[in-house]
């Protein structure tokens, strides 16, 4: 079921792992997990892409050869060449520099929205699973309601009312992804609290927060990490889709989606305006998918067999 639900839009891999990962001590497991991840064939490639994207995003002001906003009307639609490796766009801006700055936007959107979803969904799931009863019912029906909207449509509507800009898109995507993590966390809490070691801790008189912190959370975290690592790629695609439609970062700011949309009208004369950011987006998403798959294989012992 690797990233089984396609991400052009916002959808998400369906429940990745159902049960909790069985529980040798967390610290002892960590190295085995990393070793396994490194052995997975495509993972190194994914890690390289991921690190490259991070470095480029952080060092954008240094590595970018030109000012991404500087127009040069004497040099519009220039072919890729020595002066402009990926050519220039319809107002003479350097496409490569804009792709480099766009990396920042994509990563911020991808990581930011998933972080929101992990925290919000995690807390809601913890609440629902722990409290049970009416609180559980209310939280989960609320999550069902969010899931009743096609993801992209919900993000579009939320983004529209929150106002164009990166913040609006990040919040909108965070909301869209929250139910996935809430459901996952709730499931984890329910299975883990039924385990003997939790019963034992309770019998020893450990307080509820201690059980939650020391027993439930460390064991519930693996599926959340897996889901999060797969979700980032989809969130990046989603941000690109929304900024392609015109939400998200506003002109003249550069994001891959908005660059692709702007280049649409020049497909015949200057296809590089579309293909530059398009390639960056595709490579990043493929790389992150490799990493996500590797993390999943490493953390889920049942798939390792």
């Amino acid at each position: 079921m690797a990233g089984s639900i396609r991400g052009s839009d916002i959808a998400e891999p369906a429940a990745v792992v159902a049960g909790p990962v069985a529980a040798p001590p967390v610290s002892a497991r960590r190295w085995a997990v990393l070793r396994h991840a490194a052995r997975t064939r495509l993972a190194p490639l994914g890690v390289v892409v991921m690190l490259a994207a991070l470095v480029v995003a952080v060092l954008a002001p240094i590595v970018s050869p030109h000012d991404p906003l500087k127009q040069d009307l004497g040099n519009v639609l220039a072919k890729p060449g020595r002066a402009h490796l990926l050519g220039t766009d319809n107002v003479g801006r350097d496409v490569l520099s804009r792709v480099i700055w766009g990396t920042r936007v994509s990563l911020v959107a991808g990581l930011g929205s998933v972080a929101i979803a992990v925290v919000a969904g995690g807390l809601l799931g913890l609440l629902a699973g722990y409290a049970g009863g009416q609180a559980d019912g209310l939280v989960m029906r609320l999550m069902d309601a969010v899931l009743s909207f096609p993801p992209l449509v919900l993000a579009l509507a939320l983004g529209a009312v929150l106002g164009a800009g990166l913040t609006g898109v990040v919040i909108a995507l965070g909301v869209v992804y929250t139910p996935t993590f809430a459901r996952l966390m709730r499931g984890q809490v329910l299975t883990i609290t039924a385990r003997e070691y939790v019963e034992a801790a309770r019998a020893l008189g450990a307080p509820g927060w201690r059980i939650a912190w020391h027993h439930v959370l460390p064991n519930a975290i693996a599926p959340i990490v897996i889901q999060a690592s797969l979700s980032v790629a989809f969130a990046i695609l989603a941000e690109a889709s929304l900024s392609f439609l015109g939400l998200g970062i506003q002109p003249p700011g550069a994001s891959w989606g908005s660059m692709i949309n702007a280049g649409r009208g020049y497909l015949q004369q200057a296809p590089w305006i579309v293909f530059g950011p398009g390639a960056a987006l595709f490579i990043t998403v493929v790389g992150l998918n490799f990493v996500g798959d590797a993390v999943r294989d490493a953390l889920d012992p049942r798939l390792r067999a």
Binding site: V153, A160, L245, V285
Partner: protein, 314 residues
């Protein structure tokens, strides 16, 4: 089966209530005064006041909600503040291209995915399988607006085989209509094909390791007959589930596809309404889409119960 239908229907009620509440709240999430946002180009205070009164936004919020729900229950979804037409009529005019696009995309995805998925599983770990799984990865990672532009670039701009935008109704002009829908349907269908390929491959692999397959092989059936008679039928159940789960993605993809290819569908309507800041229209269409989505999920659930009797009695 009757009990299953009833149970699912009842479970839908609270969700529907929360969905309507959510859609109602949408307009109030606007930072600042929604009337100002909607009427940004018109500074005329009386026009704004009229709109405010018309939308009931001069009332306390609970009265607004009650009034809105009351109209909703009578089938009144409000009307567009731009073209003054009811939401229902706006959607009615746009639904046909969207349904045609979705249907064609689904057909294309199954035509592509079925052979690739079966071959990938039957020839596991060979180059055939690697081509198949690479195709699936490509389809899953490829943003559909980019795919759309690539298709436009090659088939529209370079080869000039197919129209790159616009819509002709295939029910009126079958040939022209089909041509106008081919590229959008491939755009939308390829993504779905990727997901179906992956699912079919993995569910086939699972079915291939079952005891009854060993039995079938032991009695001397050819591999093809084993697959056709024993594996495929069992492997199709997860595919139906995934097709259902993909509905939301399909709708989202349709929004983008209709936007790129200038198809006058419901997805395009949402985008246009969002950018015209026509919030009542956004509310109405989003609500209709959500209800349509809930109903189709319900149908998929029931279909699933019908295909797999084990579900029915759980």
């Amino acid at each position: 089966m009757g009990r299953l239908v009833l149970r699912r229907l009842l479970a839908t009620v609270p969700v529907l209530l929360l969905v309507t509440a959510g859609v109602f709240t949408l307009i109030h999430l606007t930072p600042g005064d929604p009337i100002d946002v909607m009427m940004s180009e018109s500074a005329d205070a009386t026009v704004k006041e009229n709109l405010r009164r018309e939308l009931g936004m001069d009332q306390p919020i609970y009265i607004q909600y009650a009034a809105w729900m009351g109209r909703l229950l009578r089938g009144d979804l409000g009307h567009s503040i731009r073209n003054r037409e009811p939401v229902i009529e706006n959607v009615g005019k746009r639904i046909r291209p969207s349904l045609q696009l979705a249907g064609l995309a689904m057909a294309i995805s199954l035509i592509i995915a079925t052979p690739i998925g079966i071959l990938s599983a039957a020839r596991r770990n060979t180059y055939v399988d690697r081509v198949g799984t690479s195709f699936a990865l490509f389809g899953i990672c490829m943003p559909n607006f980019l795919l759309a532009l690539l298709l436009i670039f090659f088939f529209g701009v370079k080869l000039r085989w197919l129209p790159i935008s616009g819509y002709t109704d295939p029910l009126e002009e079958p040939w022209l209509g089909l041509r106008s829908l081919v590229l959008p349907a491939i755009t939308l269908g390829l993504a779905l094909a990727a997901v179906v390929t992956r699912t079919l491959r993995s569910s086939m692999l699972e079915a291939l390791s079952e005891d009854y397959v060993r039995t079938a092989r032991a009695k001397g059936l050819s591999e093809w007959r084993v697959i056709r008679g024993h594996v495929l039928k069992n492997a199709l159940i997860p595919v139906v589930t995934v097709l259902g789960l993909q509905l939301g993605t399909l709708i989202g993809g349709a929004v983008i596809t209709e936007y790129v290819f200038a198809l006058p569908g419901v997805g395009r309507l949402v985008v246009d309404a969002v950018f015209a800041r026509d919030y009542p229209l956004v509310q109405g269409v989003v609500l209709l889409i959500a209800v349509g989505f809930i109903v189709s999920n319900l149908l998929v659930d029931l279909l699933y119960g019908w295909i797999d009797p084990r579900i029915r009695y759980r």
